[in-house]
């Protein structure tokens, strides 16, 4: 059939293609061959068709398009001879698939061939049909195939069985037709026919409930017997693989039994013996045996409960875990994860082996083992397991450390029995793998530390020791400097020593060394350095004797190239230098952070922005219950620092002074007060009210509104007039220093600077507000506003109060109003002072709220003032 004349022989073509040195060369050869083939096709000479198609198939395998050859397949299939049909069908399967319409044209040939007298031809047709038929073809030819399941030749029967499998997949409606034929196949002795019959039944059971019922009732026992026979059979060389007779058949039978037993207690009952037999008798030193065992375990897990069988299955998996072959270990770990759902106890017994797998050289096994271990953790074994995992953490690969440390942290958080253990474990993890630990994890640690007041001393000492050794672990350093900052006094005075501790001598200087090191180390990042500065500020108050040294360190940072550092350094230095009177209250021990709230927020990941639900009320000195702050602060949200998308973490970030995003000048309050108003409220309302009250000082720094005993008033943007007897007013010239407002000084009512036109800030039917502007000091950022409130109604307003809120880039200070009573058609005035840190870039804007009593009833008016003159 390899004609000498027309064109190259297949072998020669292959050789010449392989001889090509470059892709271009190969393309050339292929192009030429295709041209020849096309020409030959056009001549319609049957002799060369066979060879042409063979060549085309090879060319197709190289990746070239060969559509023009598709019709040749059809012609070959339609030829009478076997060799032609054979290559035609082969070409069909290779060059076409079910989605191509050309395939439909073959249906007729297929039908004829399915009825051919030559059973080899029948075989060809069944093969092609089974591999690529479409749904229509399946429907058309189903009756033929069904008939062939009962054919005398086993080769045909098995092909017909598998072809039927495809047919019912394509056309599930036809399933019923095949039930009877399929069940007869189950009685076969010929392995090939038997296995194909089993597969057909499996397919029928999964797509058709009636089939499932039928086979379950009629065939379960027969199948069990077949499995038993084959398990017990003598050595059959033809089917033997590593001592098991036809492991493939074992596996298929087990699969089918699984489907039949699942959800049915009776069927499951029948199977337990044979399953136990297979599970215990099968040799497991070779892959074939293990493959059978694995299938057996799957089946045991899927059928209705017999707990002894389940334990047997889990033990098999446990044995797998110690197998040298990592395929087997992998497979076992997968299954064990499913098995935990059924029988946690049984899996617990293999904990040690599973732990060994965490240390496996294969990464995918380590991963699975770690997953499995974390599912096994409970209150009883958590300490032991954590110890093992942490020990391993020290020696594990870098790329595994991240997963491992994350898992350890989550285990520790969930199951820790006592705080001191939690802190110990976390310290170990941070020391080993701090750089992989995520922010929310170390934030949580700080929350816990803060709540464990009896452990403050212990913790800070432990951290101090740790950070001396592991100073390159960033997160450890951060936690350590926060603690040293907060609890530095406990550190140097060995306060709160626990029985288990050895005393250590840490001088104030040593402690400051650590913090200074964090700033000056070249690989510290911004967050760490910023935190270190805050810690220094705290220490400057707690360690008065080396306050000078601390001041020097801070001063050095004034020249830092990092803006945030510079800013903080300048502000903190200012506090240290000139505001010693308020420093200690500023950096007082932080109130305990509310764990419950933190956890809720962390879980819910609410963005810590203004618009949260909790609306605590703030009581303002005049006794007027303030409205929820949320509204007032709801000004252009791009101005208000909505916290970056994750969550409760920002809540903590604020407290740690870590928030680097806020642009407006923060004075050195340890928690930078933020737009996350209610969060801050929570903290401060839960914590102990701040006791320190220096004579003129106020926690409420930025509103500089004089004494309030109310700790909850620490919001930078909400101001209200203080009780009249405290008058605090504008600073003396020079640099705008917020805190200078605290020391009483004469106000300057200078009205230098360009004049700005007055505006009507607000007008309603009952009230009108006018603003007039002046620029007192030479500072262009500062504006003095005189507000005049005019009562337009015929009634008197009493308990008149004006409140205002501004975005973060503005600072607002309100002087007390001239009066709280506004007679009809009368007016009162009030002075406001506004500082615009974005002077020149952004205009003033203000939200205001007026409350008063009218005829005994409370009235509230509010509005937004957008019409400030530009340039203020």
């Amino acid at each position: 059939m390899n004609s000498i004349f027309s064109g190259t022989r297949l072998r020669d073509m292959i050789r010449s293609i392989r001889a090509c040195k470059t892709a271009a060369e190969e393309r050339g050869v292929v192009r030429k061959e295709c041209a020849d083939i096309r020409a030959s096709i056009n001549e319609n000479d049957p002799h060369d068709r066979h060879r042409n198609l063979a060549k085309l198939m090879f060319i197709h395998m190289l990746g070239y398009p060969t559509h023009f050859g598709q019709m040749e397949c059809l012609k070959l299939i339609a030829s009478p001879g076997f060799p032609e049909k054979r290559i035609g069908y082969l070409g069909l399967m290779l060059l076409l698939d079910e989605r191509q319409e050309v395939l439909m044209l073959v249906t007729n040939s297929l039908k004829q061939d399915l009825n051919h007298t030559n059973q080899y031809v029948v075989g060809l047709a069944l093969c092609a049909l089974g591999n690529i038929c479409s749904a229509e073809m399946a429907r058309d030819l189903a009756p033929e195939v069904e008939r062939l399941i009962q054919f005398r030749d086993p080769n045909i029967r098995k092909k017909a069985a598998l072809c039927s499998t495809r047919i019912v997949r394509k056309v599930p409606d036809l399933a019923e037709n095949f039930i009877n034929a399929a069940s007869s196949l189950l009685k076969e002795k010929h392995h090939g026919v038997l296995i194909t019959g089993v597969q057909l039944c499996y397919e029928l059971c999964t797509i058709n409930d009636e089939a499932l019922e039928y086979f379950r009732k009629k065939c379960t026992e027969g199948l069990i017997k077949t499995l038993r026979d084959i398990t017990n059979s003598a050595y059959q060389p033809e089917y033997d693989v590593a001592g098991i007779t036809d492991p493939f058949l074992h596996i298929r039978l087990l699969k089918l039994l699984r489907v039949l037993g699942h959800g049915d207690a009776d069927a499951s009952d029948l199977m337990t013996d044979i399953l136990a037999q297979v599970a215990t008798k099968t040799e497991s030193n070779k892959n074939a045996g293990n493959a059978v065992l694995y299938e057996c375990v799957e089946t045991i897990m899927a059928i209705e409960d017999t707990s002894s069988l389940r334990v047997l299955a889990i033990n098999i998996l446990g044995r797998f875990l110690s197998n040298r072959d990592n395929n087997i270990r992998y497979v076992a770990l997968n299954m064990l994860m499913k098995a935990i759902a059924f029988d946690d106890q049984a899996v617990q017994r293999h904990r040690v082996t599973i732990l060994e797998c965490v240390k496996d050289p294969d990464a995918s096994i380590r991963k699975r083992a770690l997953e499995l271990v974390s599912l096994l953790v409970n209150e009883n074994n958590v300490k032991q397991l954590t110890k093992e995992l942490i020990d391993y953490l020290e020696i594990s690969d870098e790329d595994f450390k991240e997963d491992l440390s994350a898992k350890i942290c989550s285990i520790v958080e969930k199951f820790s029995p006592e705080k001191i253990w939690y802190i110990d474990q976390m310290l170990k993890v941070l020391s080993e793998a701090g750089k992989f630990v995520k922010d929310d994890v170390w934030h949580a640690l700080i929350v816990v530390i803060s709540n464990a007041s009896e452990l403050h001393g212990y913790t800070v000492r432990a951290l101090y020791k740790a950070v001396l050794t592991y100073s390159e672990q960033e997160t450890l350093v951060r936690v350590a400097i926060w603690c040293i900052g907060e609890y530095g006094d406990l550190l140097v005075n060995n306060v709160g020593m626990l029985g288990i501790e050895d005393p250590i001598t840490v001088t104030e200087s040593d402690a400051v060394d650590v913090v200074e090191d964090a700033i000056t180390r070249h690989n510290s990042d911004m967050t760490t350095k910023a935190m270190a500065l805050v810690a220094l500020l705290k220490l400057s108050s707690r360690f008065p004797s080396i306050s000078e040294r601390i001041k020097d360190i801070i001063v050095k940072q004034k020249g830092s190239l990092l803006l945030e550092m510079q800013q903080r350094a300048i502000e903190f230095n200012s506090i240290v230098d000139r505001h010693k009177n308020i420093r200690s209250s500023l950096v007082e021990r932080m109130p305990v952070l509310d764990e419950a709230t933190f956890n809720v927020r962390r879980a819910g990941s609410l963005p810590a922005s203004v618009s949260t639900m909790a609306k605590p009320s703030v009581s303002i000195p005049n006794g007027v219950a303030a409205a929820p702050l949320v509204d007032l602060l709801d000004l252009g949200s791009d101005d208000i620092m909505a916290a970056p998308s994750s969550s409760g973490a920002d809540f903590l970030q604020d407290l740690l002074g870590v928030d680097l995003g806020s642009s407006s000048a923060q004075s050195g309050a340890t928690p930078g007060p933020k737009a996350g108003a209610d969060l801050l409220m929570d903290i401060l309302s839960i914590g102990t009210p701040s006791p320190a009250q220096n004579n003129t000082s106020s926690i409420d720094l930025l509103s500089t509104a004089g004494i309030n005993n109310n700790p909850s008033n620490a919001l930078d943007t909400l101001s209200s007039p203080a009780p009249p007897h405290i008058a605090t007013t504008a600073s003396a010239g020079g640099m705008f220093d917020l805190l200078d407002g605290l020391s009483p000084s004469p106000s300057k009512e200078a009205t230098n600077g360009p004049a700005y036109p007055p505006i009507v800030a607000y007008e309603s039917s009952t009230l009108k507000i006018e603003f007039t502007f002046s620029k007192p000091s030479g500072n262009p950022q500062e504006t003095n506003v005189q507000a005049t409130f005019i009562n337009l109604s015929p009634n008197t307003f009493t308990d008149f109060i004006f409140q205002a809120a501004v975005p973060k880039f503005l600072q607002l200070h309100l002087d007390p109003a001239s009066s709280n009573t506004l007679p009809a058609s009368g007016n009162i005035t009030q002075n406001l002072r506004v500082t615009n840190s974005q002077h020149g870039k952004k205009s003033l804007v203000m939200r205001m709220r007026i409350g008063y009593k009218l005829n005994g009833k409370d009235v509230l008016e509010e509005g937004q003032i957008n019409n400030f003159p530009r340039g203020l």
């Binding site: 093969c127 690529i132 799957e298 395929n327």
Partner: protein, 145 residues
């Protein structure tokens, strides 16, 4: 959850496909992509790793014999160890048929390799588990050529 073999690939280390049989329909371009991806997945895997890789939403079971990678794509829940046996049986059959098979045999006789495969697996399922039976069948068919 179809428990059938989705495709079988024989590729050499350079990524040349020596056999590609698909039991699910795929466009030509998709097939090329699949072949490229599978090759990349298996060719770089160290021998100490398992013989199973996740591939899209399925699983590929593979094994290397000399310079050839035999890859089977199956459902992610299927029994991996069984398919390893399957691959091995196929290799044994080829070895027997070609008498110590080498890659070149498979290149020059690619159509025969497909014919052998078609006697071993049909519609993505096992058709015959006896090596002897398959070899016998092949010689019967050869006689008809």
């Amino acid at each position: 959850m179809r428990l059938l073999i989705r495709f079988i690939l024989l590729q050499n280390r350079q990524g040349k496909t020596r056999l590609a049989k698909y039991y699910v329909p795929l466009e030509e371009s998709e097939k090329h992509k699949v072949e490229y991806e599978v090759h990349r997945l298996v060719v770089n895997r160290d021998s100490k790793f398992t013989n199973f890789v996740e591939f899209r939403t399925h699983k590929v079971i593979y094994r290397r014999y000399a310079g050839l990678f035999f890859s089977l794509c199956v459902d992610i829940t299927d029994n991996e160890l069984a398919y390893l046996e399957c691959i091995h049986l196929f290799v044994e059959i080829l070895d027997h048929f070609f008498s110590n098979v080498c890659e070149l045999d498979l290149v020059f006789n690619f159509h025969k390799v497909y014919l052998i495969l078609d006697e071993f697996i049909l519609a993505g399922e096992l058709q015959e588990t006896s090596k002897r039976a398959i070899i016998e069948r092949m010689s019967e068919l050869e006689k008809l050529e």
